[in-house]
């Protein structure tokens, strides 16, 4: 009935998810970084900073998926998910300060912390909304399926 999914395919599915997440968070952080640069009248982005950002996003993506139960897609928040939220936010914030993305500005670094918290909340909300829409679709199809079966039985 169902094609067996190989170990490789399962790994690939997870890997694709991590790549997608890494890119999403990278572009979000890059946006904040670019806004900081623009506000300070700098119209170029440091390629070293961008490299650090994407690599960090990739590593945190792995941590999110393998250690913290993919908390940004979670529907229930247990210890691992809350810990993941806190740890990942802290790592992004501390790394931004240490790597000098925001010229070691405390104010902008705190701003980044708030930005990342809001970003995670948005992502969680988006996935939750997507699931609610899927729920509606699934239950509508279930009702139709069961109604079709009843109609078939009545015809019989």
């Amino acid at each position: 009935m169902n094609k067996k999914v190989s170990l490789w395919e399962r790994y690939l599915t997870r890997e694709i998810g991590i790549e997608f997440k890494s890119c999403l968070y990278f572009f979000a952080i890059l946006f904040y970084y670019c806004m900081y640069r623009l506000v300070n009248h700098t119209y170029t982005a440091d390629i070293l900073h961008m490299t650090e950002m994407i690599l960090l996003c990739y590593v945190i993506g792995y941590a999110q998926v393998y250690l913290f139960h993919n908390f940004d897609e979670a529907w229930r928040f247990g210890t691992a998910e809350i810990l993941g939220f806190i740890v990942c936010t802290a790592v992004y914030t501390v790394a931004s300060y240490l790597f000098g993305w925001l010229d070691h500005s405390i104010g902008w670094t705190i701003g980044l912390l708030v930005y990342i918290v809001l970003l995670y909340i948005c992502v969680i909300f988006i996935y939750d909304t997507k699931r609610k829409i899927d729920d509606k679709e699934l239950n509508k199809n279930l009702e139709l399926f069961q109604a079709r079966r009843e109609a078939d039985e009545d015809e019989i």
């Binding site: 993919n70 979670a74 609610k132 729920d135 239950n139 199809n141 078939d152 019989i156």
Partner: protein, 149 residues
């Protein structure tokens, strides 16, 4: 019971059952026509019972034993899950995991979970987790057309 069979050219096939009183025999004929005829034998406690496939909520295999759950009893069946999958070759019975078959007609509601999994709440209140691979098949079946697939 009188049986009358008429061939009428161009007519749509139909079966009509006329009865004065709903006897077990009449009920069996109607069940057969509705596809609810499959009966399974098993043990509930010390008692040997026969259950209709239509009353099954789900079937689970645990430690090489197979159990069918209805709304009011748990019956240990003598068949393997593989054999039951063959016997219950019906659109409403769906293999939802390596060790479970569930009756789609007895699902109360479905809830989408992360990683493309689905939580099925059965009419008895049980929650059955359907993993990604089987969830895809369930979606396909619910979207599918009439009859067997």
């Amino acid at each position: 019971m009188k049986l009358t069979i008429n061939q009428i050219k161009g007519a749509e096939p139909q079966v009509s059952v006329t009865y004065d009183e709903m006897t077990p025999e009449v009920e069996r004929v109607i069940d057969l026509l509705k596809g609810n005829h499959l009966r399974l034998t098993g043990k509930s406690g010390d008692e040997t019972v026969v259950i209709s496939a239509a009353t099954i909520l789900y079937i689970e295999s645990v430690d090489d034993k197979t159990f069918a759950y209805t709304s009011d009893k748990v019956v240990q069946l003598k068949y393997s899950l593989a054999a039951l999958t063959e016997m219950l070759n019906d659109i409403r019975f769906f293999r939802c995991s390596k060790s479970m078959i569930l009756n789609i007609d007895k699902i109360e509601r479905l809830k989408s979970l992360p990683s493309n999994r689905i939580d099925a709440t059965m009419k008895g209140g049980e929650h059955i987790l359907i993993t990604r691979t089987y969830a895809t098949e369930l979606r396909r079946r619910l979207q599918g057309g009439r009859g067997h697939e």
